[in-house]
Amino acid sequence: MRPFSYTRASDVGEAVAALAANDGARFIAGGTNLLDLMKYDVERPEHLIDITALPLDRIENTADGGLSIGAMVRNTDIAYDEQVAARFPLLASAILAGASPQLRNSATTGGNLRQRTRCSYFYDVSTPCNKREPGSGCPAKTGFARYHAILGASERCIATHPSDMCVGLAALGATVRVEGPEGSRSIPFSDFHRLPGDTPQVDTTLAHGEMVVAVDLPGKGFSDHYSYLKIRDRLSYAFALISVAAALDMDGDTIAEARLALGGVAHKPWRNAEAEAAMRGKPAVETTFAEAADIVLAEAETVPGNAFKPELARRTMIRALSQAAAGTPQSQSDKRIQ
């Protein structure tokens, strides 16, 4: 990696000010993605601000009955937190579907949100990539695109966001709390990550200098009817070809409310309000789920390397919703798809 200087921040204001003052600075916490990219010479920060000592490492109840997860809480600690496991098992399941125990022990909430794409071209500085080097091109469109987007992509970039946890958070309708030089603000989860458009180098709607301090979950956890189903090229420790977070609120056999988020298909965790609305008031049967899946995929566009993904996504959505409806969520250890 390139040389950089390093300081530790002891409070949020100081950290935010230090970052805002230096365009070449980055926050570092778990380091599981930033150091990875620095070693590949993709990220080249001049200065790292260590924010692991900030008092953002708690999971707390919120006034509206939800949970607030501090930005420095390690992924493992969310997944095995009693409150999360009991009230938001979809989130726990999504986290346990990702990475490895070692990585989850390091990776933080904030870092998970900020992780960058796993596109092989983005990672390889010997190749063109519009996200890494705007204007250089996107070889993935005619090349290795197995893990690439089928929804919301642009002419310039077909990269995907690699997180599993974020797919769970998207489905749960989380809110991202941010501190910045201009003060604090809250960003609905669906507005946090952005689509590539003409500026694929920009991953999120954060301004430079802003820090994720917490992710807030609303009270409704869909703990009776949920599933996180991830399809990948081996049975563990691999990024998603397709992942689906499904959550239902059931009124007898009828769907009162539905949430459906996808990973591995877009530059951000993908939700489609129309598809969710279409399930509302319908019976929890396969035809309902298939209609919703078709709505999600109506705008799907593929390249030669990922032409298989819409059909795989359709089947995975139907299955995850069926699992949620039946109250038989996918196990992340028993690899049989329930």
Binding site: P101, N105, S333
Partner: protein, 168 residues
């Protein structure tokens, strides 16, 4: 890229890290990972570098009770930590039960992923989230073994669990 004036290597910073019970006061450059500190500067080469990117688990060590990939942890960020490496599993020459079980079950061949597997397995038992064979397999999946010793590794872990499961 400019052909001149590269940045100078970073200044070293003081850290204090306890490794296998021994406190080390060291000066480390910010760009040195915990893994490279162990291997290059402290000559604790038991911890292995298989990929340097968190994709194989060979560098797994236990930091403050948690297994992590030491390749993705800056040494300066381990300041004040307690680190256990494979060299610290045995006590006074007596092998850790997991080490004994690995030998007994032939849970390795080339031996290169083994230190990471051992640290991971010891931590797995401490974590207490794995009770079934499926759970052991899943929660050991952050440690790749190209020799394909997985079945024997799972057997070794089950043996240790059956004998009371305590990590030490």
């Amino acid at each position: 890229m400019s052909a001149t004036d590269p940045a100078a290597p970073p200044e070293r910073m003081p850290v204090s890290i306890t490794i296998n019970g021994n406190r080390h006061k060291l000066e480390v450059a910010p760009w040195t990972t915990l893994l490279d500190l162990l291997r290059h500067e402290l000559e604790l080469t038991g911890t292995k570098k298989g990929c340097d990117h968190g994709q194989c688990g060979a560098c797994t060590v236990i930091v403050d009770g948690r297994r992590i990939n030491s390749c993705l942890r800056l040494a300066v960020m381990a300041d004040g930590s307690e680190v256990t490496t494979v060299e610290g599993l045995a006590t006074n020459g007596e092998l850790h039960p997991m080490q004994e079980a690995f030998i007994e079950r032939d849970a390795f061949q080339c031996g290169y992923c083994t230190p990471g597997q051992l640290c991971s397995a010891v931590a797995l038992i401490d974590e207490g989230h794995a009770t079934t064979r499926d759970e052991i397999r899943e929660q050991m999946s952050g440690n790749l073994c190209r020799c394909g010793a997985y079945v024997n590794i799972a057997d070794a872990i089950e043996d240790v669990m059956a004998k009371g499961g305590q990590a030490r």
